[in-house]
């Protein structure tokens, strides 16, 4: 089935003791991982008084008030949700598309300075956000991109594109060039060979790249804070707005946390199989 179920047989003949240790470790890790998220989900259905009760309470009358307050009334969350979907989605799509082209080009070029080029590409992702965001703001101001969705998409590309090129380049690099070569012998143009032979083979890589880029841009806070305006605020910005001078409404905050987190988790889990193969093939070839 998946790559994750193959090739594990021999070590499983470990002693009983070691099997118990493994189970205990995994169980501990599960508790450590899931409790904060579960508590957030649970708290989002509590009333304000229950959320900040001194003794944690698991039995309570669940209420949808927090969600109702988020999507109705003063702070309507729908526009934020739409902005997040559009900005993160477009940026991830563009990054994957451009990353596939550039990653393939990079994998097949014979240019000598290639190592430097590829290191430069990945080093652009290391730039500290707080330092570069002012120049980006000024450039966007000149281009009229402040408070626009294309502006956010472009800003997200600054960290998504290097990642996409890097990951996808790894995929293309491990495909033998003989594939395209034979396609071209059969009469394909290089573009056709890329489009019809290479791309289908890298589907796990494309999906992995898209999803990780989607997650990175959906979760961005620093760029959106500086570059968005009244019309383009995203979900993480909405979350930070709930920290106010007159008190943090933890009920609403846990609710918005849930709204921010759940879509990415669903997307991530839907492609979990691909993530494993995606990252394996990107990193290691062989057998």
């Amino acid at each position: 089935m998946t790559a994750s179920t193959t090739g594990a047989a021999p070590l499983e003949r470990g002693s009983r003791g070691s099997r118990v240790v493994v189970r205990v470790l995994v169980a501990t890790a599960l508790i450590w991982t899931v409790v904060p998220l579960g508590w957030m989900l649970l708290s989002s259905f509590k009333s304000t008084a229950e959320v900040t009760a001194a003794t944690p309470d698991v039995w309570f009358g669940p209420t949808l008030d927090n969600y109702r307050n988020l999507f109705g009334g003063g702070n309507n969350l729908w526009p934020h949700l739409r902005n997040s979907v559009v900005a993160a989605g477009c940026s991830a799509l563009l990054a994957t598309a451009l990353g596939a082209l550039a990653g393939y080009g990079l994998a097949r070029t014979k240019w000598r300075g290639k190592h430097h080029l590829s290191f430069w590409i990945i080093s652009t992702r290391m730039a500290p956000i707080a330092a570069v965001v002012l120049p980006i703001f000024l450039i966007f101001r000149v281009l009229g991109l402040i408070d626009t969705l294309p502006g956010l998409v472009l800003a997200y590309l600054s960290f998504n594109l290097p990642f996409a090129i890097w990951l996808l380049n790894a995929f293309f690099a491990q495909l033998p060039p003989a594939l395209e070569e034979s396609a071209q012998v059969a009469g394909c143009t290089p573009w056709q060979a890329f489009r019809h032979v290479i791309l289908p083979l890298t589907r796990p890589g494309l999906v992995t790249t898209f999803v990780l880029c989607l997650v990175f841009s959906w979760n961005d806070y620093a760029f959106a804070l500086v570059l968005s305006g009244p019309r383009t605020q995203t979900l993480p910005i909405a979350a930070s707005q709930l920290v106010t001078q007159t008190g943090i409404d933890w009920g609403q905050l846990t609710a918005i946390g849930t709204v921010v987190v759940v879509p990415m988790m669903l997307v991530g889990l839907a492609v979990r199989r691909w993530l494993v193969t995606g990252l394996t093939m990107g990193a290691v070839t062989g057998e």
Binding site: P10, I139, P177, E181, Y221, R272
Partner: protein
């Protein structure tokens, strides 16, 4: 053993060079260039220009009042770096934070991956649940951490209270530092697990078969066979994590804000504060460039290591 080639950026298609005969027409050299052009142009636009601006800013005083303008300041910002009494400490803390978070994530992630790999039942379910934190926005991780450790109503404070610890996690310098470290570990260990597990599943079973026939013990098998086999993948994980570990400030900023007594003020928190609380963009540019330089050196080192590992196999 199967051929194990790092498909990382730096190695490139070795096989391509070996197997391509002269008689087959290769893609035109220009084709690769044209494929790269759009991506590289966009990347240059969103990175080279801002980078140049940051370099210029680092030699200027940036005035916001009365319309933004730069005033040449020579090396003032740079010399300040060496007279700033708080800077050295910020970097010491950053080093500690980096080692503890990235190191912790690597160790825990690998251990967890090996455990999952040896798990006979429920591996996929467990993996799905264990992956969840890496999809959570860092700003939410920070706020959630604050929620869980609040000394009045936090779940974790309550649990610790039941266990007999009545201190305040975020009030003490050591525990505050450990807490923000653990939050980062919570969020990013899953990524390492995912990558390590991906590597483990591609270790050929024949190798392991041979090892267990030899009667090699579990630990020895792990140490001499499994770990070397997945070392390159682990390096990829290490590289990905070390690129981001220095940059992110969302978690610390949203929980302790750098306190208490500056115990959690890392370079990235200091950078954010200098830029967007003090609006001292000249000095922020210096701090940012220094961070970029450090990250680049670290990443470069790992890439080199990766090259050697990849080629050695």
């Amino acid at each position: 053993m199967g051929e194990l080639t790092m498909g990382s950026l730096t190695t490139g298609p070795h096989r391509a060079e070996r197997s391509s005969g002269r008689r087959i027409r290769l893609p035109l050299p220009g084709f690769a260039g044209r494929m790269m052009a759009p991506g590289l142009l966009v990347l240059a636009g969103v990175s080279l220009l801002p980078f140049a601006a940051v370099v210029v800013m680092s030699f200027s005083r940036v005035h916001l009042l009365g319309g933004l303008r730069l005033e040449g300041a020579g090396a003032d910002n740079w010399t300040r770096l060496f007279t700033d009494p708080d800077m050295a400490w910020a970097w010491a803390r950053t080093a500690g934070y980096f080692v503890l978070t990235v190191g912790g994530e690597m160790v825990l992630g690998t251990v967890l991956a090996i455990c999952l790999w040896r798990l006979r039942h429920g591996r996929n379910t467990a993996l799905s649940l264990l992956l969840l934190p890496m999809f959570v926005a860092p700003v939410i991780v920070g706020l959630l951490g604050r929620f869980l450790t609040d000394s009045t109503f936090g779940l974790y404070s309550w649990v610790l209270g039941q266990l007999g610890y009545h201190g305040d996690l975020m009030g003490d310098k050591t525990t505050a530092f450990v807490s923000v470290t653990l939050m980062d570990v919570w969020e990013w260990t899953p990524l390492v697990t995912l990558i390590a597990l991906a590597g483990l599943t591609s270790v050929p079973s024949s190798v392991l078969e041979a090892a267990s026939l030899d009667g090699a013990g579990l630990l020895r098998t792990l140490r001499h066979i499994v770990l070397p086999a997945i070392a390159p993948v682990l390096l990829v994980a290490l590289l990905i994590r070390s690129m981001d570990a220095l940059r992110y400030f969302d978690i610390i900023w949203n929980t302790t804000g750098g306190g208490p007594a500056d115990a959690t003020k890392t370079a990235s928190v200091k950078l954010y504060e200098t830029a967007f609380r003090f609006f001292d963009f000249g000095y922020a540019a210096v701090t940012g460039l220094l961070m970029l330089a450090v990250t680049t050196v670290v990443a470069r080192y790992f890439v080199r290591l990766l090259d050697r590992k990849g080629l050695a196999r």
